[in-house]
């Protein structure tokens, strides 16, 4: 089978081209610049547009324009750039325009550094812009998935007429792995709502302003219905040895790769540990996690942010089981040995806690 060794950032661009994306508007930033560079190299070869914008603010509004004109379009950046794009993402969602945005996360807040972090979770998954909207968020953990999930992102963006964000980190973006080149092309669907400068589309209007409160409420209700549909149909996740696991470790992106190695080592030591990886961060696989609370004694969330992902896990677990948190921030990715140590510790602690809880229940009973 033919494979190509490439960086995650480059694979996302290949996926985009195969999905029929024909324009990229972006602004350089480490560690996402390879996306713009690959787009500059490849898009003109397939009749597409690459334009280096004057800022991330301009880039996201160019994406807004291309999407309004019915073109599959994208941009990419890292945390500081995504902060600047939030206004535009809100407008895209409000005007119901499909677009794909890749966020290759780095350290923050402020200028932070360029090493991998996952601290954009809140701003991306919860929606960093103003207003009642959601973005679908996909979290690849390999170079192959950078390609495949970017392709999927365009399909979802069109299906829901909503921005979709591919949320990854500096390691997944920068690392190289073999990619099996996809054998299918995605054909962009018809977009009768677009404004393309033709007689048929002359009556069309792309806007997010609804001056009348009743009309805006109806518009938001319509968006909510769309998001409810996505929440039922778009959830994606990966489970690894969770069937009999007493401790379930949860992480996404690069963390899930290191966790997998740690879980394997823990299993070799006889610990009943499994790995759960959310692939969609919104919609979040809450139901799947809550189901696992039936048999798992405890959860361990590992993230490169200070307690962002864990909030969603705790909402899903709903106090049924303890949810432990282990974080590294500042651009440090934990090693498998480090995570194995955490798994051992939490496994041990969990037994202690379980007996404490029984004591408490006993006391309450008295």
């Amino acid at each position: 089978m033919a494979r190509v060794l490439m960086k995650g950032n480059e694979a996302a661009i290949i996926g985009a081209i195969l999905a029929g994306c024909r324009s990229f508007y972006g602004y350089p930033i480490t560690p996402a610049s390879e996306l713009a560079e690959a787009a500059a190299r490849y898009f003109p070869l397939v009749g597409g547009t690459f334009l280096q914008a004057e800022s991330e603010v301009a880039a996201i509004n160019m994406v807004y324009g291309a999407a309004a004109a019915g073109e599959r379009t994208m941009t990419a950046s890292s945390g500081p750039g995504l902060s600047l794009m939030q206004e535009g993402i809100s407008y895209l969602a409000g005007a119901e325009l499909p677009a794909v945005i890749v966020d290759v996360m780095r350290g923050g807040p402020g200028l932070g550094n360029i090493a991998p972090e996952q601290s954009d979770y809140h701003q991306i998954v919860k929606g960093g812009g103003h207003g009642n909207y959601r973005t679908i968020v996909l979290a690849p953990n390999s170079v192959q998935e950078m390609c495949d999930l970017t392709m999927l992102a365009f399909e979802l963006a069109d299906r829901y007429r909503n921005p979709v964000i591919v949320l990854t980190d500096g390691f997944i973006g920068q690392m190289m792995e073999p990619v099996e080149l996809p054998r299918t092309l995605a054909r962009p669907s018809e977009k009768p709502w677009a404004v393309t400068g033709t007689a048929e589309t002359r009556p069309n209007l792309i806007t997010s302003i609804y001056l009348n409160p009743e009309e805006l409420e109806a518009h938001i209700r319509r968006l909510e219905a769309k998001y409810a549909h996505a929440a039922r149909h778009v959830v994606m996740y990966e489970k690894h040895r969770t069937e009999d696991a007493e401790l379930i470790a949860i992480g996404y992106g690069i963390v899930s790769r290191v966790l997998k190695a740690a879980v394997e080592q823990a299993r070799a030591e006889g610990l009943k540990v499994g790995l759960f990886r959310p692939i969609t961060l919104w919609p979040f696989p809450s139901r799947e996690i809550s189901v696992m609370a039936d048999w798992a004694r405890c959860f361990l969330v590992v993230e490169l942010s200070h307690g962002q992902l864990v909030e969603d896990v705790r909402l899903a677990v709903h106090g049924e089981r303890p949810v432990k948190l282990y974080t590294r921030v500042g651009g440090i990715v934990p090693t498998a040995e480090e995570l194995l140590e955490q798994i051992r510790k939490v496994s041990e602690e969990n037994d202690v806690r379980a007996s404490l809880r029984e004591t408490e229940e006993y006391l309450w009973g008295v």
Binding site: L5, T49, G65, Y91, L181, T198, R202, T207
Partner: protein, 485 residues
């Protein structure tokens, strides 16, 4: 019998169905300039016969509702961003006629960057810039074009240049750029000036129609409500006050000499419509997949057990080619059908830094690409050896460039292989190829990958013939060094 010689332009809706309230009147105040400008634009669209092709981008400001009136394709943009939106629409739809309609706050304050760069790129779009020296819709605050001394709700004592700066002369500013084709400032205060505005608006659209690039018309426009004047007083104020600061005239016009840009034809010549399969796209992109030798060959007979499924760290100075060495290993490993991963240390592009990468070659799918406990360390300088030596697993291998590293590894529980890589490469004609000597020695010792496969990969990765020759020679020298040991 009579002929109707004067009427509503076709590109303005007969009834304003999108507008709440009375669908026969506009939402603009009496004496406001927007009505005139809307009409002139619509007349030009009618006369050029481009109603179906026109896409109007409305701003944030009173003209946010321009789509109530214009019977053309309509897109509403975020505050100040219309030139960015217009840029992408025009590039996506080169046949369309894209008009950005903006006020002074929108264009000259919050959207200053977008207009500057769209103009500088010479985007083939048309911008109509309404300068009424005030924020009208939000209730009369100071605009970047507010005149010195002018009272607004945020300059209650009048605009003081020492405090609020001077009014921006946008036309003059943009005319200083190479990019734009046509820039003119007009005004609406009497019939003569209005006819001049009408003509300029028509010309700006024509420039785009001919594909000659960026055109902008700045229109000094009355805002009687914002200014607290009657419509007649407002016209007088433009003539007496605004003209003193904002002179009328053509500031740039190279439409006669500028060749057409961004034409529809140039885009249609691109291969997009004919592309049918992924293979066609890969061919266009120059992407060539590597067919792997299968099944994987890491058998006991060929590779000593302790060298199998290596987790490798390669480290050295930036410029020693350690990232390349790692990539070559990963590429060649992929060619042999293995699972591989390559993870670089990445940082600001600075000279003299250290670089390292993590490489895994495995018969099994790779969980973590992060090599925290390497089974192999290839150290090309002293700091790298010192830093990563403790990480190597017991029984692992440390291969180091003994030309540059004088102190031996302290570890006694690992295998060590000193290779005078820099010295050997230097004798072959380039110390830069020391990385290939080290790689050759690693392959010679461990047999992890066949040398031929690495050389085939090298041929794919290195285009420069003499550099390729040096690399292959150095690789061979590394292999020989180990076998002669």
């Amino acid at each position: 019998m009579y002929v109707r010689a004067y009427g509503k332009p076709k590109s303005i809706y007969g009834v304003f169905e999108r507008k709440p309230g009375d669908p026969r009147t506009t939402h603009y105040c009496p004496g406001c300039g927007h009505g005139n400008v809307h009409k002139y634009i619509a007349e030009a669209i009618d006369d050029f016969g481009i109603q179906d092709r026109t896409i109007l981008i409305s701003p944030v400001g009173c003209a946010v509702f321009a789509y109530y009136y214009f019977d053309v394709g309509n897109v509403q943009a975020a505050h100040g961003r219309a030139p960015a939106v217009a840029t992408a629409i025009k590039r996506a739809r080169p046949d369309s006629i894209v008009i950005s309609y903006q006020g002074d706050g929108d264009l000259a304050a919050i959207g200053g960057n977008e207009i500057l760069h769209a103009a500088n790129r010479g985007e083939n779009i048309t911008v109509f810039f309404i300068n009424n020296a005030i924020y009208g819709m939000t209730g009369g605050q100071m605009a970047p074009t507010t005149l010195p001394g002018q009272i607004t709700t945020t300059t209650p004592m009048g605009r003081a240049p020492e405090r609020e700066g001077f009014p921006l002369r946008v036309s003059e500013l943009l005319a200083s750029l190479e990019g734009p084709t046509y820039i003119e400032r007009v005004a609406l205060f009497d019939n003569k000036s209005r006819m001049r505005a009408r003509k300029a608006i028509r010309k700006a659209i024509q420039v785009q129609l001919e594909g000659r690039g960026f055109s902008l018309v700045e229109i000094l426009s009355p805002c009687p409500t914002g200014w607290g004047m009657t419509p007649a007083q407002a016209c007088e104020w433009i003539q007496k006050e605004m003209l003193r600061y904002f002179p009328l005239g053509v500031f740039k016009d190279v439409s006669a000499t500028r060749p057409p840009v961004h034409t529809a034809a140039s885009r249609e010549a691109m291969p997009l419509p004919s592309v049918a399969s992924p293979e066609d796209i890969f061919a266009l992109l120059g992407l060539e997949g590597v067919e792997s030798v299968s099944p994987p060959l890491m058998r006991e007979t060929e590779i000593p057990a302790r060298y199998r499924n290596p987790r490798i760290k390669v480290a050295g100075f930036g410029g020693q080619g350690v990232l390349f060495l790692g990539r070559l290993l990963a590429e060649a490993g992929m060619r042999q059908g293995y699972h591989v991963s390559w993870l670089p240390s990445y940082g600001p592009e600075m000279r003299g830094g250290t670089a390292h990468c993590h490489v895994t070659i495995s018969t099994e799918p790779i969980a973590s690409p992060l090599v925290s406990r390497p089974s192999v360390l290839i150290a090309m300088n002293q700091p790298s050896l010192e830093r990563f030596e403790p990480e190597v697993i017991p029984g692992g291998l440390i291969l180091y460039d003994s030309s540059l590293i004088s102190t031996r590894p302290r570890r006694t529980d690992v295998e060590t292989l000193p290779v005078p890589a820099t010295q050997i490469a230097d004798q072959l004609g380039g110390a830069k190829a020391a990385n290939m000597v080290a790689l050759g020695a690693y392959l010679g010792l461990t047999k992890v990958l066949p040398a031929e496969s690495v050389i085939v990969t090298l041929e794919r990765m290195v285009e420069n013939r003499s550099l390729l020759e040096l690399n292959v020679k150095s690789l061979q020298a590394g292999l020989d060094y180990v076998s002669a040991r």
